[in-house]
C-alpha cells in the first residue's frame, strides 16, 4: 500500500471475548420458509420419481436429452418437445468423499456425493446424488451405477425417493 498508510482498521475478536461477555451481540433466527412451485418440468420429474422412474426432456433442435428436465433448451432457446424415460443407470462423472458436516463436525460414516452421468441423456448430462452400498476407496470416475429407489410406500415425489446410486455388477460388499 502507499507509504502514507501506517495502520489498517478492523478489530479481530476471539471466541473467548464472547464467552467472557466482553462483546455484546443479538440473536435472531429467521422464519424464512418457502413453498416453491415445482412447475411443469420438475413437477413431472418428481411424480415420475414416485413412480420409480427418471425422466428427461428432449430438445427438438439440438436433439439433446436434458436432465434435470426443463421446458426450455438453454442452448437453442426453444421449448423442449417430448418426455424421455431414462433407464436409471449411469456413470460416475465426478465424486467426493466427505468426512464433515456443513458446520464442520466429524461424520460417523463418510458420505459420498457424486455427479452421475445418466444413460440415455446427452453426453455429460447428469444429476447430483449420493452413492451407497460401496466403500469410498472403491469409488472412481467411470464407475457404473444404478438408482436404488425407496420402497413405494416411502416415496414422497422428492429427489430422495432415490435412496442412492449403487455400483452395478463388479463391486460387491
Amino acid at each position: 500500500m502507499s507509504e502514507r498508510i501506517s495502520s489498517y482498521p478492523g478489530t479481530p475478536l476471539k471466541e473467548r471475548d464472547f464467552a467472557e461477555g466482553k462483546v455484546l451481540f443479538q440473536w435472531w433466527i429467521p422464519r424464512a420458509h418457502y413453498a416453491w412451485d415445482a412447475g411443469v418440468a420438475i413437477g413431472r420429474f418428481l411424480r415420475e420419481l414416485r413412480a420409480g422412474r427418471l425422466v428427461a426432456r428432449r430438445c427438438p433442435q439440438c436433439r439433446r436429452v436434458l436432465v434435470p428436465p426443463r421446458m426450455v433448451c438453454e442452448h437453442c432457446f426453444c421449448p423442449t418437445s417430448e418426455w424421455v424415460v431414462l433407464p436409471g443407470t449411469g456413470t460416475v462423472k465426478t465424486f467426493s468423499v466427505c468426512y464433515v458436516t456443513w458446520d464442520m463436525q466429524p461424520l460417523d460414516e463418510p458420505i459420498v456425493p457424486a455427479v452421475i452421468e445418466l444413460d440415455g441423456a446427452a453426453p455429460g448430462g447428469g444429476i447430483m446424488h449420493l452413492l451407497g452400498e460401496v466403500r469410498p476407496e472403491e469409488v472412481h470416475i467411470g464407475l457404473r451405477v444404478e438408482a436404488v429407489f425407496r420402497p413405494v410406500e416411502e416415496r414422497t415425489a422428492a429427489i430422495t425417493d432415490i435412496r442412492y446410486f449403487r455400483p452395478i455388477g463388479e463391486v460387491k460388499r
Binding site: 489498517y8 436434458l66 468426512y99 422428492a158
Partner: protein
C-alpha cells in the same frame, strides 16, 4: 475510441479477520474512508456508490445493501448493489466502471464488504441454500462437495496429484506475510498441506481459504478528474463477465469455460492479443488452491492442465515471469467473499503504482488482471488494469 476512459485513483481496505468487532456498515465505512483519504477526496466528490456484498444470509440482514449503504457514503446519493456470488468483488468494479463510462457520473466509489461471522453456528451454513431447493437441498449438501467434485474432475482429467496443487497454498501464504491486512500470512510446506485433515476428498483443510470479515473500497474517476486527483491513475482497460448454466451437473467441470469467455471479452476491449506477454501480474480467484490453477488456464495464461507445472517451475512467484497472487490471495489474506475479489483489484492498483511495499513485483509492471468466480462454479468476472 468513443469509450469514456475510467481510472482507479484510490483504494483502502480493512484487515481481514476471522470475526470483526465492527458491524457490516462500520467495516464499509472504514474501507470507504480510507479509499477517499488515500486520494485526498471527500464524500462531496463522490457522485455515485456501487456496492457489492455476497449472501445476505451471512450478515443476517435481508436487503443487506440498504443496511450497508450509509457506511458506504450513499446517503443522498445514487446507490446500486450488484451481486454475482463469489464473482461480486470484481463485478463491483465493472459495475462502477459503467456508472462512469456511461457519462452519468464523473466519480464512483466502489465498496465491497462481507461479514461472514454473524452466521451461526458456522458461516458455511449460509451456503446450504445455494443449492437447488428441490433437486439438491434434500440431499443435505455441503459447500465442500462442489469444490471437491470440481477439484476431482480437474485432477483426474489432467492426471494431477495433490503435491502439484499444494504449492499454491504454500506460495500464497508466504506472499501474504507481506500483506498488512492478511489473516494467514505464514511459512508452510507442501507436507503441511498434504498432512492436513481430509474434509471432503480431495479437499484438505489447508487447501481452503479462511472464512473472514472485511471490506475494501476503491475510487473510480473519469479521465479529466483522474488527472487532477493523481499523477498515477490506473486505467480500466478491459472488463468481461460471463455466467454459465445453472445445470452444473451437465457441465465439464475440468475447465472453467465462463472464465475464458469473460477473459476474451476483457482482452478484446483492452486490445490484448498475447495475454501471456501483455499481462504482467495476475490475481486470479483462489478460494481453494486448485482454483488458482483452474483459473489461470481459463484466463488463457496457461495451457489446459499445465498450470501446476508452471507453478512448480516458479513462474508464478513474485519474482517469476508471471507473478500470480502477489498479494497472498484469498488463501493467505482471507476470504470475505465480495471484499476478497475487490482486494485483488486493489492489489493490482497498488502494484502498478509501485506502492505494494514488500509485496512489490519487480520490473515495473504495466498491466495487471484481476479475476473472480462464484455461484455454483458458474460466474467469471475479469478486470484488466494498466498504466501508461
Amino acid at each position: 475510441m468513443r469509450m469514456r476512459r475510467v481510472a482507479v485513483v484510490g483504494a483502502g481496505m480493512t484487515k481481514f479477520v476471522r470475526r470483526a468487532l465492527e458491524t457490516a456498515d462500520e467495516l464499509s465505512w472504514q474501507a470507504s474512508k480510507m479509499a477517499l483519504d488515500s486520494c485526498g477526496l471527500t464524500l462531496a466528490d463522490v457522485d455515485a456508490v456501487a456496492f457489492g456484498t455476497a449472501p445476505d444470509t451471512f450478515d443476517g440482514v435481508h436487503m443487506n445493501g440498504e443496511y450497508c449503504a450509509p457506511g458506504c457514503g450513499a446517503y443522498g446519493k445514487p446507490f446500486i448493489r450488484c451481486y454475482v456470488g463469489g464473482g461480486t468483488g470484481v463485478m463491483a468494479v465493472i459495475h462502477g466502471w459503467y456508472h462512469v463510462a456511461s457519462g452519468l457520473f464523473d466519480t464512483c466509489l466502489v465498496v465491497c464488504e462481507e461479514k461472514m461471522s454473524s452466521c451461526q453456528p458456522h458461516p458455511q451454513g449460509a451456503f446450504l441454500t445455494i443449492f437447488d431447493h428441490t433437486l439438491e437441498r434434500p440431499l443435505g449438501p455441503n459447500l465442500l462437495w462442489i469444490f471437491a467434485m470440481e477439484m476431482n474432475a480437474y485432477m483426474t482429467r489432467y492426471g494431477l496429484n495433490k503435491r502439484d496443487i499444494a504449492l499454491v497454498t504454500v506460495k500464497n501464504r508466504a506472499n501474504a506475510k507481506d500483506h498488512p491486512c492478511a489473516l494467514l500470512g505464514e511459512e508452510i510446506t507442501v507436507e503441511d498441506v498434504l498432512n492436513s485433515e481430509v474434509m471432503a476428498w480431495p479437499v484438505q483443510r489447508l487447501d481452503v481459504s479462511p472464512i473472514s470479515d472485511g471490506a475494501v473500497a476503491i475510487v473510480l474517476a473519469a479521465e479529466h478528474v483522474a488527472h487532477r486527483v493523481t499523477d498515477k491513475p490506473v486505467w480500466i482497460e478491459g472488463v468481461g463477465w460471463s455466467l454459465e448454466t445453472a445445470y452444473w451437473t451437465n457441465r465439464d467441470l475440468s475447465y472453467p469455460l465462463q472464465v475464458e469467455q469473460a477473459a476474451r471479452m476483457a482482452y478484446q476491449m483492452a486490445g490484448i492479443t498475447e495475454p501471456r506477454k501483455q499481462i504482467h501480474i495476475v490475481e486470479p480467484y483462489d478460494p481453494f488452491d486448485y482454483k488458482e490453477l483452474h483459473h489461470l488456464e481459463g484466463l488463457l495464461l496457461a495451457d489446459k492442465g499445465k498450470a501446476p507445472e508452471m507453478t512448480a517451475l516458479g513462474v508464478t512467484r513474485r519474482d517469476g515471469d508471471l507473478p500470480v497472487c502477489p498479494s497472498g490471495g484469498l488463501l493467505g489474506v482471507g476470504n470475505p467473499i465480495a471484499a476478497a475479489g475487490l482486494m485483488k483489484v486493489a492489489e493490482i492498483f497498488w502494484q502498478l503504482r509501485g506502492e505494494a511495499g514488500r509485496r512489490q513485483v519487480p520490473g515495473n509492471p504495466k498491466r495487471g488482471l484481476a479475476q473472480a468466480w462464484g455461484d455454483l462454479m458458474q460466474v467469471g468476472t475479469v478486470v484488466i488494469l494498466g498504466v501508461a
